[in-house]
């Protein structure tokens, strides 16, 4: 049976993991490769590396990092952050990335999704969507949520699928960082509308939240960052809990 995926997300800045991460038994907790490896040993199903380096010229350092990740980690991983063109994506593919995620660049230039899917296949293309609910409408936001657009979440997600996205990574900005649970109502709607897998992000604070995102939100994967980094939840404990609750999980 196909299992639900648990995906830790690692923010990378200038080649190092950010956010105060304190892990015993890790020689260098700031090293994304070491941390990714640890997560994979603990049972993570996939990893997402998000490059939040502010400088424009991050292509070369990012591809060097991707090479190291690909050489050391034996589960699938996605790389995102500032990918704007076929060339950007190709460099990461050549370095060994399994998938790339595009966000703002796809909203600004939707044709990018078609180009990426046609060149590399849909399985390579994750479209990340940050959206916020206000005045009763879910609006897509750009640049890490700073810039609102007129794009409606459901319409944009559907368009992404039609243009060739392989998966949708949906972050609810209303829930992100709150630790109050995922946006399960919207996730379920997305699941009804889309036929491609959905990765849920934003709001994970407890093991129960993951149960709800799979049971109620119908998500295919649950993504979180700080609860894993700060060891508030251990991946193996989470997976055992979910399995005991009847969610299909790989242990």
């Amino acid at each position: 049976m196909l299992t639900k995926r648990i995906i830790p997300c690692l923010d990378i800045k200038n080649g190092r993991t950010v956010k105060g991460i304190n892990f015993e038994g890790l020689r260098d907790a700031g090293d994304p490769v070491e941390l990714g490896k640890l997560y994979s040993q603990q049972g993570a199903d996939e990893l997402v590396f998000l490059d939040i380096t502010a400088t424009n010229d991050k292509r070369k350092p990012l591809s060097d990092l991707v090479k190291k990740i690909a050489a050391n980690i034996n589960i699938p991983f996605t790389v995102g952050g500032g990918i704007r063109s076929i060339e950007d994506a190709d460099v990461l593919l050549q370095a060994g990335a399994d998938k790339i995620s595009v966000n703002s660049a796809a909203v600004r230039n939707p044709e990018l999704i078609n180009e990426l899917a046609n060149n590399f296949g849909s399985q390579f293309v994750v479209v990340a969507i940050d959206a916020k609910l206000y005045e009763g409408k879910w609006k897509v936001h750009l640049n890490g949520g700073r810039i609102p657009t007129e794009f409606n979440l459901l319409d944009w997600a559907k368009e992404c699928e039609e243009r060739g996205a392989g998966e949708i990574l949906f972050t609810s900005m209303n829930h992100d960082g709150t630790k109050q649970g995922f946006e399960n109502v919207m996730l379920e709607k997305l699941s009804e509308v889309l036929s491609i897998p959905i990765i849920a992000s934003g709001g994970a604070g407890s093991m129960e939240h993951f149960y709800e995102v799979f049971a109620k939100g119908k998500a295919d994967a649950g993504l979180a960052a700080s609860i894993f980094h700060f060891k508030e939840i251990e991946i193996l404990d989470l997976k055992r809990y979910l399995k005991a609750k009847g969610i299909p999980i790989r242990i």
């Binding site: 690909a70 050489a71 296949g121 399985q123 390579f124």
Partner: protein, 198 residues
């Protein structure tokens, strides 16, 4: 042992090379006929779309080379599908090494997603090239088309319906899943292939 990994513009071939390196083997990424023909073993990876990938193979003349290889050959994902007779994906005639059809998943409801992405368990038949103790273990899949269960099926997985997770015909071996991305289980399966004697 000389392992050739066929490099023909079909996605993440680097990851196969890295996976071999983790097993202590230096694979050679190549699209040169001579290097492929003289290798002890050949890995035929691939992700992407069937029709354009077949065209790449034809451009390189590899559509003539691969079916005639005599050493063990491992097709992975799209590599496995291209070893079959025909793919429904853009109505593509394939290499016709294994007489099977590649067809698309057609779930009855939107609740079942296509592509089939993620970790699913395999049921391994007795006495095949994949260690039988790996039955019921999880491996990583990402595909929208599949090979039906048939005479050459050596492992099955259930998604929408049971399909071929692995095949073998003569010296041609294949997995629909990605052993290079399937953690320690995948490493064991790559090792199973590497251990095959000619």
């Amino acid at each position: 042992m000389k392992i050739a990994i066929i490099d023909y513009n079909a996605g993440n071939v680097q990851s196969v090379k890295f996976a071999l390196e983790r097993l202590g083997i230096n694979g050679l990424l190549t699209n040169k006929k001579e290097e492929i023909q003289t290798a002890d073993k050949v890995i035929f990876p691939g992700v992407g779309e069937a029709n354009s990938t077949m065209k790449h193979l034809q451009k390189l003349g590899l559509n003539q080379v691969i079916p005639n290889l005599k050493q063990p050959v491992l097709g992975i994902c799209l590599g496995m599908q291209l070893m079959c007779s025909h793919s429904e994906e853009n109505d593509t005639p394939c290499l016709n090494i294994i007489p099977q059809q590649v067809v698309r998943f057609r779930p009855k409801s939107n609740e079942v997603k296509v592509p089939h992405v993620g970790w699913n368990n395999i049921e391994v038949k007795n006495d095949t090239w994949i260690s039988s103790n790996l039955s019921d273990e999880y491996v990583y899949f990402v595909h929208s088309y599949f090979v039906e269960v048939g005479e050459y099926t050596v492992a099955t997985t259930d998604y929408v319906q049971p399909f071929s997770a692995a095949l073998q015909k003569d010296n041609f071996y294949a997995t629909q899943f990605h052993p290079e991305k399937s953690g320690s289980v995948g490493e064991q399966i790559l090792n199973d292939f590497l251990k095959i004697k000619k």
